[in-house]
């Protein structure tokens, strides 16, 4: 058959305009659902990001006994370099420790005044690749002769216990939102096509092929999905940009970073979901009325 995409597209756009209320309903439903789904994705991504950042921030401080010789310090540093669990280690000399202390206490100069460079011990700050290794690394350090270690064991333990469940709970919630969105949008499309089932019957009786009847409806679904999901996705990404810009000032202690959200991926996922539901929903809804 001489199939005419131009005709279908003109029909689709005309029907969108003529059934304006239905089109607006479908677009709005899509937009709201995608907005909620997008917000779910954002929250989930940021919480995961924060948890990961906190986990990464776990550092072990290993203090050298006061009278450690330079040579021994050198030895310890080079042996640390060889630990597979260690991402980075920084040597902090006595002088550096004092400078940091002074900086921290800048508004209480009288406390700083009496402290000489010999009071604070030299140390090594060790950043781990994975916070779960902290106990093992600490044991190794003790074996190396470090007696004084400082690391937030409790925080690490708590984090490891709950991180997994929190992340999975968030992912589960996002999945539920996804399912709810799909059903809600699908239902709206079905209703709008149900309202036009007579038209479909007439088209079939006049001799239209299934494809000829269906294509304009599917294109309508595509346009509705694209507009609804597109608007919602842009709003989600824009909100995220505002949030990431606002967070460092308002929540300086929470490690929120823009890297937690993969913006192009979020845009792509949200718009694809909207378009997919629009197209598949229309296709399936029309099919039910094509059997004339």
């Amino acid at each position: 058959m001489n199939f005419n995409l131009g005709f279908s597209l003109r029909e689709a756009l005309k029907n969108l305009r003529l059934n304006l209320l239905m089109s607006v309903t479908a677009v709005t439903t899509t937009a709201v659902c995608i907005l909620i789904l997008g917000s779910g994705m954002l929250v989930s991504a940021h919480v995961e990001g924060i948890i990961r950042n906190v986990g990464q921030d776990v550092t072990i401080e290993a203090f050298f006994p006061k009278d450690t010789e330079e040579e021994k310090i050198e030895q310890a540093r080079s042996s640390l370099e060889g630990y597979p669990e260690v991402k980075e280690s920084t040597y902090i000399s006595k002088e550096e420790a004092l400078r940091r202390f002074q900086e921290m206490m800048a508004d209480q100069p009288d406390i700083v005044q009496d402290i000489g460079p010999d009071v604070l011990p030299a140390s090594i700050e060790i950043q781990l690749k994975d916070s779960r290794d902290s106990e093992a690394v600490a044991d190794k350090l003790r074996a190396e002769g470090f007696t004084e270690l400082s690391y937030p064991q409790q925080v690490i333990n708590d984090l490891n216990e709950y991180t997994g469940s929190v992340i999975w709970a968030l992912r589960g919630a996002t999945a539920l939102l996804f399912v709810a969105s799909v059903l809600l949008i699908f239902n709206t499309i079905r209703l709008s096509i149900f309202a036009r089932r007579k038209e479909i019957e007439i088209m079939k009786l006049v001799g239209a092929t299934d494809e000829f009847v269906r294509t304009p409806f599917v294109l309508e679904g595509l346009v509705q999905g694209l507009i609804g999901a597109g608007l919602a996705a842009l709003l989600v990404v824009w909100t995220n940009t505002l949030f990431v810009g606002w967070a460092p000032e308002a929540l300086p202690r929470v490690p929120i970073s823009s890297a937690a959200v993969n913006t192009p991926l979020v845009l792509l996922v949200l718009i694809s979901v909207g378009v997919f539901i629009g197209v598949v929903g229309s296709y399936l809804s029309v099919r039910r009325f094509l059997r004339v």
Partner: protein, 228 residues
């Protein structure tokens, strides 16, 4: 042109709509199918359109056995049959012109052909002045004329009408019948299901009478009821 061979149609388990019907309609005939509501007229039309399948027996239309037509070939089959319905079945979102043009568009005809042909057919049915109106803005008679125009635009060899005057007043009905008569005179086979007694009696065409799913009378130049 249209042949029913021992056709029986049962809806559900025991609702018999047609019982062992045999009927031959030759090319160029004008046939009235008469009978009370529920006598099986609409079922015969639906069978011809392959909207439904017979329970037993065979039907052939346009030289094709309907049972051999695949589902995807049904649209082609229907394009050879113009249809006029009691409730007009116009697309509410399309103007008169667009409704008529749709029947050509489904067959993939060129826009230029559509643009020249639609005004011609609208003139034939006397609706050239209403071409940009929507069905809701037309009277019943006008809507039925749009429906006839749409049925006839592709010049199908067969035109079937299901109670075409059922919703119209007698004067308007005459106009529609004259239109069908003209379409018949240029060679189209016309089959009209009706219980419009006056119309059948005036036209004096072949009359096939159905009663409870059986053909009880088949007369050339007949009338609605048997003369007593």
């Amino acid at each position: 042109m249209i042949y029913f061979n021992n056709v029986t149609k049962v809806y559900g388990r025991d609702a018999v709509a047609l019982k062992d019907v045999n009927l031959s309609i030759e090319p160029g005939e004008f046939v009235f199918l008469v009978g009370a509501s529920g006598s099986g007229k609409s079922t015969m039309l639906r069978l011809i359109l392959k909207e439904t399948e017979p329970t037993s027996g065979t039907i052939s239309v346009n030289g094709m056995k309907l049972s051999t037509i695949l589902r995807r070939e049904v649209p082609n089959h229907r394009r050879a049959i113009g249809c006029v319905f009691q409730d007009f079945k116009l697309l509410p979102n399309k103007t008169v012109t667009e409704n008529v043009a749709y029947a050509m568009e489904v067959t993939g005809q060129r826009r230029r052909a559509i643009r020249t042909k639609v005004p011609q057919i609208l003139e034939l049915v006397g609706l050239q002045g209403k071409k940009n109106k929507y069905p809701g803005q037309l009277s019943g008679g006008e809507q039925q004329r749009v429906s006839v125009a749409r049925a006839f635009i592709s010049q199908p060899p067969i035109l079937i009408a299901d109670e075409p005057t059922g919703n119209l007043d007698p004067e308007t009905s005459v106009g529609i019948m004259q239109l069908l008569h003209r379409i018949n005179r240029i060679g189209t086979t016309v089959l009209v299901a009706t219980h419009d007694k006056e119309m059948v009696d005036v036209m004096r065409k072949r009359v096939v009478a159905l009663e409870e799913g059986r053909i009880v009378r088949d007369k050339v130049r007949g009338v609605y009821a048997d003369e007593l």
